[in-house]
C-alpha cells in the first residue's frame, strides 16, 4: 500500500482549492483523485459568466475560473490522477480507487479531504405524476448535453423549479433557438439569484409562475404536453387552475443533493439538515483527519465561497498532518434558531479558534430589513444587520473569538428576525 501525506477526493473547485492550500502550507506529497477525464468539476459545463467576482475581482466563466486553479495546481508537484474513481474511504484513512491506468488501488493517507460535489435531484425525488416519456431531464444534464457534447435537447421547453441552473438553462436554450414557455416554481419566491431572474428570464420575456407546479405529464414516446396548476399556501394544487403547455422538453431544476455515499459508508456523522457531514470549525468531520468542503458539505451558490471554504479545509488538513489532532476540551454546538434552516460548521472547538469562526447558514423565508442574532442561552452575543435575505442566497457571519468567549453554555444559536424600524 502506498502512503501519501494527503489524498483529496474530487477535482472540482473544492478539491483544487484544498490541494493548493495544503501545498502552500508545506505538504509536498499530495494525491488528487478525479473520476472525470478533466479537472474542474461542474464548472466545465457552466459556460456562462458570473464566477470569480470575489476571488479574482473579475467576472469569469466557469471554465475560466477552473482554468485559473488548474494552472496554479500545475505549478506545484501535486499528483493528479484523472479517470480515477474512489470506491471507499475507511476511518483509518485508507482510500480505494479504480482507474483504467492503475486498476484497483489502495492507498493510505495522513489526512483526507472529501470534495465530491453534488448531484441533482431527479424526477423520482420529487414524484411528478404522469407518463414515463422521454424529454424529461434535469437542467444540469441538459447543460452537459448542450455545452459539453454539443447536442440540443429540445425545441419547446418548460422548466420546473427556479433554481439557478434552471434559470441559466432557460437563457441557454433560448439563445440556442428553443422556445422556453415558462419557468414554474412551487414556492412563492424563487430559489435562484435575483440577477439570474433578470438576465435569464426577464431579458427574454420568459414568464416565472410562482406558487405553481406541474400536475401532469403527457406524452407517448416523447413528451407532448405538461399541465401546470397554481398551488395554495399548503402547496396543494388548486383544481380549476390548470393550464396546458405543448412542449417536447421538461427541465427539472429542483435542487441539489450532496454526493455523500463515501462519507456515509465511512461512518462520518451526517447532518440531516445539509445532507452533508457535520463538521468542526476547521471543516473536519467526526472522523479525525478527514475533512469535507464544497458542495459535498453544503450546497453553495457561489464558487468563490467554495474555494474559500476549501482553502480552509486544505490548510486544516495540513495542520493535522503536521501537528496532529486538535484539542477539544470545550466544544460549542451551533444550532439553528428562528427562520434559519442550518448552520455550517455544526461544532466549534474553542481551543482551535484562532481569530474567529466563519459561520454559513440559510434562512427559510424571505426577509427585508432584518437582523441575524447569535445567542448563548438568554444572552445575545452578536447581532448583524441585513438589508435583504432569501433562502436562495447563502448567508455568512464572522464570529470573532472575543464574542465566542462570551458564550458560557454548550450551545450557541443563530436566528433571523425582522428588524424593528
Amino acid at each position: 500500500m502506498t502512503e501519501h501525506q494527503l489524498v483529496v477526493i474530487g477535482g472540482g473547485p473544492a478539491g483544487l482549492s484544498a490541494a493548493l492550500s495544503a501545498w502552500e502550507a508545506g505538504i509536498t506529497d499530495i494525491l488528487l483523485l478525479e473520476r472525470d477525464k478533466y479537472l474542474g468539476g461542474i464548472l466545465n459545463q457552466c459556460v456562462h459568466n458570473g464566477f470569480g467576482l470575489h476571488r479574482f475581482k473579475e467576472e469569469l466563466t466557469g471554465p475560466e475560473y477552473a482554468g485559473r486553479y488548474v494552472e496554479l495546481l500545475e505549478s506545484t508537484a501535486v499528483r493528479v490522477k484523472t479517470d480515477a474513481m474512489v470506491l471507499s474511504v475507511s476511518p483509518d484513512r485508507t482510500v480505494r480507487y479504480v482507474s483504467p491506468a492503475d486498476g484497483c488501488r489502495t492507498v493510505h493517507a495522513g489526512a483526507v479531504v472529501l470534495a465530491m460535489g453534488c448531484r441533482e435531484r431527479t424526477r423520482g425525488a420529487i414524484s411528478v405524476p404522469g407518463t414515463r416519456c422521454s424529454g424529461i431531464l434535469t437542467a444540469g444534464a441538459a447543460q452537459r448535453f448542450i455545452n459539453i457534447e454539443g447536442k440540443m435537447v429540445g425545441r419547446r421547453a418548460v422548466i420546473l423549479g427556479s433554481g439557478d441552473i434552471g434559470l441559466i438553462m432557460a437563457r441557454r436554450m433560448t439563445l440556442e433557438g428553443a422556445k422556453v414557455l415558462a419557468c414554474v416554481e412551487l414556492m412563492p419566491y424563487s430559489s435562484g439569484l435575483n440577477r439570474n431572474i433578470v438576465q435569464c428570464l426577464q431579458d427574454f420575456n420568459i414568464p416565472l409562475l410562482l406558487s405553481h407546479t406541474v400536475t401532469d405529464i403527457i406524452g407517448d414516446r416523447r413528451l407532448e404536453k405538461v399541465v401546470v396548476s397554481a398551488v395554495d399556501e399548503h402547496r396543494r394544487p388548486i383544481p380549476g387552475t390548470e393550464q396546458t403547455f405543448e412542449c417536447d422538453t421538461l427541465l427539472l431544476s429542483v435542487g441539489l443533493l450532496p454526493e455523500n455515499e463515501l462519507t456515509r459508508a465511512l461512518g462520518a456523522e451526517m447532518d440531516p439538515r445539509t445532507n452533508g457531514a457535520a463538521v468542526y470549525e476547521n471543516m473536519e468531520t467526526s472522523i479525525p483527519g478527514v475533512f469535507a468542503c464544497g458542495n459535498v458539505l453544503q450546497v453553495h451558490d457561489l464558487v468563490d465561497f467554495v474555494s474559500e471554504e476549501s482553502a480552509r479545509a486544505g490548510a486544516a488538513a495540513a495542520d493535522y498532518i503536521q501537528n496532529g489532532e486538535t484539542a477539544s476540551r470545550r466544544t460549542l454546538t451551533v444550532e439553528n434558531g428562528n427562520a434559519v434552516s442550518y448552520t455550517v460548521p455544526q461544532r466549534i472547538r474553542m481551543e482551535a479558534v484562532d481569530q474567529g469562526v466563519q459561520v454559513f447558514f440559510r434562512v427559510n423565508r424571505v426577509f427585508e430589513k432584518s437582523a441575524v442574532t447569535v445567542t448563548a442561552g438568554e444572552k445575545q452575543i452578536a447581532r448583524f444587520k441585513r438589508e435583504h435575505m432569501a433562502p436562495g442566497e447563502m448567508e455568512r457571519i464572522f464570529l470573532p473569538e472575543k464574542l465566542l468567549a462570551l458564550a458560557e453554555g454548550e450551545t450557541i444559536t443563530v436566528s433571523a428576525e425582522e428588524a424593528e424600524a
Binding site: K37, N44, V47, H48, N49, G50, L53, E59, L60, T61, G62, P63, E64, G67, I146, N147, I148, E149, G150, R172, L175, E176, G177, L193, N194, R195, I197, V198, Q199, D203, D301, L302, H388, E393
Partner: protein
C-alpha cells in the same frame, strides 16, 4: 424613477435610477452598480456566452464569450452567429475565435484551453 436589480454581481443590489436627473443611481454598493444602472436605462448591454464547434480534440465544443458586453438587442443575432464558427485545437483561453462579432466591435474569445 426606475427600480432595477443590479446583475453585475450576486449581491443583486436594488438600484433606483432617476431618469430625470441625469440617470443618477442610488442603492448601489459599488461603482460597478452605478455604471450598470446608467447603461441599463441608456443602452443595456450583456456579455454573451456559449459554445462553438471544435475540431481536432476529444471534446466537440469549445466554450466562448464576448470579451466585453454587447448591446442587449444584438444577443439573438450574435448567438446565431456562433453556429457558423469553427475552431481547431489547440485553443488557449483568451484566443480570439471571431473578431468583431456582428459589427459590435467586440471579439469572441475562447474560455477554455483545449489541447488536441
Amino acid at each position: 424613477m426606475k427600480e432595477l436589480i443590479c446583475i453585475v454581481c450576486p449581491n443583486g443590489c436594488r438600484l433606483r435610477v432617476d431618469e430625470k436627473n441625469g440617470c443618477r443611481v442610488t442603492g448601489n454598493s459599488c461603482p460597478r452598480g452605478e455604471e450598470y444602472g446608467k447603461n441599463e436605462i441608456l443602452h443595456p448591454v450583456r456579455v454573451l456566452t456559449g459554445t462553438v464547434r471544435l475540431h481536432g480534440a476529444s471534446l466537440p465544443r469549445c466554450p466562448v464569450k464576448t470579451r466585453g458586453p454587447i448591446p442587449k438587442e444584438k444577443l439573438p443575432e450574435a448567438a446565431r452567429a456562433l453556429c457558423r464558427v469553427d475552431v481547431e485545437a489547440p485553443v488557449q483561453t483568451g484566443d480570439v475565435v471571431l473578431a468583431d462579432l456582428c459589427g459590435t466591435g467586440v471579439d469572441l474569445v475562447a474560455t477554455r484551453t483545449i489541447l488536441p
